[in-house]
Structures are given as structure tokens and as C-alpha cells.
Symmetry: C2
Subunit: 429 residues, 2 copies
Amino acid sequence: MKRVRAGIVGFGTVGRATADIISKHADLIEQRSGVRLDVTAVCRRSAIQPKDTPKGATAVSDWKQLLKDPNVDVVVETMGGTGQSLQLLRAALSQGKPVVTANKNLLAEHGDELFALAATHNLPIGFEASVAGGIPILRVIHESTAGDKLRSVHGILNGTANYILTEMESRGIEFDEALQEAQHAGFAEADPAFDIDGQDARDKLCILARMAFEGRLSVSRIPTYGIRHVRAIDIHSANRLDSTIRLVGSAEHAENGLEVSVRPWLVSRRSMLAKVEGVNNAVFLVGDKIGTQMFYGRGAGGDATGSAVVSDLIEISRDLAAGQLNAKNISGFLSSRELELCANPRPVAWYLRLTVKDQRGIVARVAEVIAQHAINIDSLEQEPHLPKDRVSFVITIEPVSEPIIRRAIETINSFDFMVEPVLLLRIEE
Amino acid sequence: MKRVRAGIVGFGTVGRATADIISKHADLIEQRSGVRLDVTAVCRRSAIQPKDTPKGATAVSDWKQLLKDPNVDVVVETMGGTGQSLQLLRAALSQGKPVVTANKNLLAEHGDELFALAATHNLPIGFEASVAGGIPILRVIHESTAGDKLRSVHGILNGTANYILTEMESRGIEFDEALQEAQHAGFAEADPAFDIDGQDARDKLCILARMAFEGRLSVSRIPTYGIRHVRAIDIHSANRLDSTIRLVGSAEHAENGLEVSVRPWLVSRRSMLAKVEGVNNAVFLVGDKIGTQMFYGRGAGGDATGSAVVSDLIEISRDLAAGQLNAKNISGFLSSRELELCANPRPVAWYLRLTVKDQRGIVARVAEVIAQHAINIDSLEQEPHLPKDRVSFVITIEPVSEPIIRRAIETINSFDFMVEPVLLLRIEE
């Protein structure tokens, strides 16, 4: 019997779920892969109770100790962050140990270094769990679309934001209330910024775009807007347009480069994006030959993410047992080519919501600014029955390139009657 | 440079698309996989014009000739059928050549023999293209859910049937008209039985169920009902119930065995199944740990299916070039365990449509039969304004196990006022 022993560093939700799946499904895994997979060491800075320690495993509080353990063949990193986790992966790879990580943040920021190090040592890095939880989207891009030229990868990449938006819609509640509920339900952190301001989706999009388009892309180059400023009135207005709102990360080949962003979209209720509710994720791939594909499932949570970790562990274990361990050609992280971003994105339709102190002539002044930028208004609606000091207008405009609408909004935002900045949503036809 | 040479047998839509993708994306494939993939031989019984022959390839009319060609490293089978294709795969594997096939029919019927032969010779069979065209569902089941226990695999597996159903709905046309259109559009064969009577979906479901539940399942054990008897009135009645109709192949773990069938379902318009329109396919996986996942995309057509063939070719080529070619442990086709089918399926709700010659007392007689079987009627509606010799009733009933409703229908079908047999749809909550 071939045996592969895993050491798990970061024994939180994902780490524990991973250990749990391995222990529960060890026979199944052995039968399918021919390898006996065991967890032999776990590590967390705070003490791990004996009852929580996997059977037969040692519990340590310093990952350096775990790395020294001769009974660890593969290192699983589920700590998160980019400090200790970076040091751990560097050390593990340098010592010749393959690694599996669920850490999008780490790969988005230090992927180049880590995949280069892995290549040097001819070791694999399993990272399926870093994007979209249990959805095997990275394996699909790497293996199943290997013969195709991809045109677009986009989707709903943050379950917390999606939960908030769907709760706002289904129950007609305000953003703050939906956020609090997400926190109570355990879907949002006490500091929710990473989820609701789009950085989490941005890190995942960065990894997806690099996999799909095979080049360098630093996260700082991805324009990122969150959902913090979406209000019940926007959901209401979206509904009137037979639409709803989704936070979408998108990387798309245009004529003169890649269009990439994380931002809220107004999407038709009839669209597949609109069907993705609650904490689910969905990733769309568009390729020359494959056409449009969609991959949908739980985007977070211990079980789904742990399943992805275990699928990577099984693949590595099989190769390890067969003496065929090697670095995969993850070209997106090994290429030195910078992905070229599109300077002049293609025109799309937009939704603008203005919140103003009511006074005479506002519509005229706003309409004038829009006309000055050669933008055509598609519809304009003022919400009735609102307090005079907080009146909302919703304007939809015909397709224009983003820089043009941004310039117009800059002028509008400078008007003294504006209570808060314009909320801008991309309208997906 | 490592070079792998493919020979394609069956140079129809899929075969030509495969050759086309390889020729168009050869550089891309080489850059990603480190292998130069070429088509060096093509085979079709009817002559292949020189202009259609891939550059540098020889065209032959007998696959035995192609198999003898020392310039063929991998054999691609896109002939279809179970006669010549079976002989070809037997011969290729026996000669030590790995194969890729798009032939669901062949694998559903002779999968055991072929995978056993492949194991004997330690050779892989690539068969991603055999199910759901470009959707990489077999790779997902084999690799990405390797650490999980699956509970259900179901979905829309036949694009032609789905095209017909969505055309009937969107344009309010009858089945025959929609079928004719599908034939004109090239989505349906002159003899459409394989698509509309469910055998094509059944073959695919057979492969999916064997992959997901790892045991033997002959196609003859899969209860299969098509869409030939679905009428505009059913689509209309479905709409009134805020639902639509989809042909669904489903294999689901129940308490005492597997529930497996291909049949039309009445599905809520709000469901993901309802969102799958036209010739698209969608496969749902439900697992203990992964939860519910859905994989959506083009289920047929040369480009999508050819992409799946090429993804298999790339995987095999990479292993071939590295000297690491080996049979995969496709346990579903290597296990001698028979999948146990559930004798007493769980209760579900049903839709019945009766077409009768109008006479007094029909409703009473039908209602009596239903009551005799201890079945509760949920709703009953008679379509108004229909000719007296062809009146339709629609009855929905509360959840009962299939054998019970089948027995009731048997009695109802024997009544002399019945113009045609009852149409039965499973209602998915």
C-alpha cells in the first residue's frame, strides 16, 4: 500500500474540513487513487485541543516544526494572509515538498515567485481551492480548454457579496441590514471590507485571468468597485428594469487588449448571472471553440473549499506514489509577458443613480453635463415621495466607453446638490 | 521538440473539427503542453477530397490501413456506431495505441470490455467528448470530486430535444413543427428517434452514472421516456404552473439503491434547469461535501465536441512524450459490482395529461381510479374550447412513488374514451 502523509498548516474552517474529508473518505480515496492519504500533522498558532486533532496526527503551534517532521510528504496551507504563509510555501518548496494552498491573496500577490520556485524544484502547487471554493474552474481552464483560445472569463466570485445582494432583493432590505445578517450567519467577517469592496473577487479574478490569458497581471491594475454603496433603491430600480444587481469580476479580450474589472453589474433577470443566488459562485468561460460554458457551485465554506484541497492532494499523492511528481506548466504564472490592458474599452450601457438635495434645475444641469460628453440618455426616473434632502434619480444611458462616463460623473459629483457620489453600474445586455 | 501524431477515423463533423482545432491551435498547444500535436492520417469510408485533408496527412478509406501506419501514435475514433468502431478500438488498444473516442453509444454498450482491454495494455482511453460535448464533466467527476461521495448526477443531456422543447415554448409551436425546424437547422437527424426518444440521453446518463457511482449499469436497466408525445398544450399547461418542460437524465442515490431514469420533467421557471435553452446541455452534481454544482455549455456540434477530443489528446500526448502513458483507474468501468437500482423510488409529484373523446362522466371515472390507488389530486383542469373528439385534461397529483402512478395510468389508458395514452411528467419541486 502506498501511503502519502499530509501536514495541514492553519487549522481553521478549511483546514479542519480538509482533515475531516480525508479521515471520512480515506477508503474511498484509496480505492479510487490507489493511495492511502493520511493527515499526520496539524499546525495552528493557538492550541489545538486533542479532541480536534486528527487521529494519529501530531499538533504543533509553529509551522517550522511541522516542516521538519519527516512524516509529512505534502504541505497544505490554509492559514491565509501573505506573511507567514509566504514563508511557509517558500520553505516547503525549497525543501522539496509539494504544497497545496487555498490562499488566493498569496497567489495573486506572490504567484510569480512561488510558481518559479516550484518549477526550479520540479514540484507542483495545488491551488484549485484558491478560486471559487469547490468549483474546479482552475483545472478546467488548465486541462479542458488547453486546445482552445479563451475570449472571456467572468463571473460571481464572492459569495458574501452575492448573499447580501440577493437578500436585499428577496427581502427588500437595506444594505446595512443585509450585511449584518451575513455577519450573523457567518458569511461575512467582522471587517467585511475584503468581501464587499471587491478585493477578494479581484484576487480571484487575477488568478483566473492569468490562467486564461497566460501572462502577468498585478492586482493593482484591476479596477475594483464593490457593493458598499448599492442601496435598496437600486435593487428596486433594477427590478423595474426586469433586472437585478450582481458583483462581477470580468476579464475579456477586446480588440486592443484585455478589459478587466470587478464591479457591480445590472443584469437581466433572465440571465444565468441573475440565477446565481446566496453564497454561490459561478464562473463563465467563453472560448473560440467551446462557446460559452458556465461552472456553478458553492464558492466558500469549509466543505466545498476542503473538497478542492483534497482533489489537489489526491492528484499530487497519485503522482508522488508513482514517482512522477513534477511541476505543472502553469504558464500564466511562469510567463514574463505582461497582459496588455485595453486603453479604450468597448462601449457598454450604464446605470447611474444620483442622490441629491432637491432644488430646482437639477435635472437640467445633469442632463447638460451628459449631453456635453455626447452621451445619450436612455431613461431617466425620479423616485417619488422621498424626503427633499435626499432625492434619488436613476439614469440609464446608451453604450459609451467607460472613460467617457467617468469624466461626466466627475463633473456631476462636483455639484453642490450631490449628497453622495454617483453610483455607477454596468448594464449587461 | 516532442511530437505526437494523431490518426482520425471517421472524418465527419467532429473529426473535421478536431483536425481543424489541432491545425489552428498547434502553436498554442505546443506552448502549453510542450508537445507538437499533428494529424498525420485521416480515414473515412467515402473518399476525402485533397482540399479537406489536413496538411501533411494521408487520407485512407479503411481504418485497418490507418492502424498499420507507423506515423500514428494516437487513434481518434469519431465514426459513431458500435460495429466498426468497436473493432477499431479493440485493434488499436491491442496494438498498444492509446485512443480517444467521442462515442457514447460504444462506451455505454461495450465500456467494460474496452476499459478492461485498456487496463491490460496499460493504455488510456480519452472519452470526455462522449458526454455533453464541450463540457468537461467526466474529468470533473474523475478528478475534482475524487475526495467526495456523490449523491446525484442529473441534467439536460440531449441538445436536440432541448432545442425542440425551448422552440415549442418560445414560439408556441407544436412538436412536429419544432422537430422539422431542428432538422432544417441541422440539429436533428432525418431519423430523430435517438434524440427525441431519449436513447442518446440514456447512453450519456449510463456513462455519467457509472463514473459517479462506480459500478456496472447496462443501458437496458435505465427506464427511458422521450418527448415525442409532448404537445403544445403541455407547454401551455406548464406555463400556467409557472413551469416549463425539460428532458432530464437522472441518477440519484436513494435509501435502498439508485434511482435512474431519462424522462421529461416539469420544472419551475425559476430553476436552473429551465434556464438551459436551445442546444445547450447542463449537468448537475450533488455531493456530500461539494454541495450542488452545475456545469453548462454546448452539448454538441463539431467545435465543442472537437475541443473535448483535443483536451484528451493533449493529456495523452503529454504523458506519451514524458514516457508516462498509463491506464487511468476508471473505476466505474473496471468494477464488477452491479449498481443496485431502487425498487421503491421516493414519492414525487406528477403531471398527467389525458386526451379523450368528450363524454359524460369522464372526470368521475378518472378521479375514481386515482382515488382507488390512494393518490391525492393536487389540481385538475380541462382545457376549454377544444373539439369534442379531442379534449385535454391536465391533472397534477401529490407525491407518490412511480409504480403507484404507473398502475393507475395503466387502468386509465384502458378506458375506451382515451384517444392516446396518458402523458406523464415528473414534477420537480
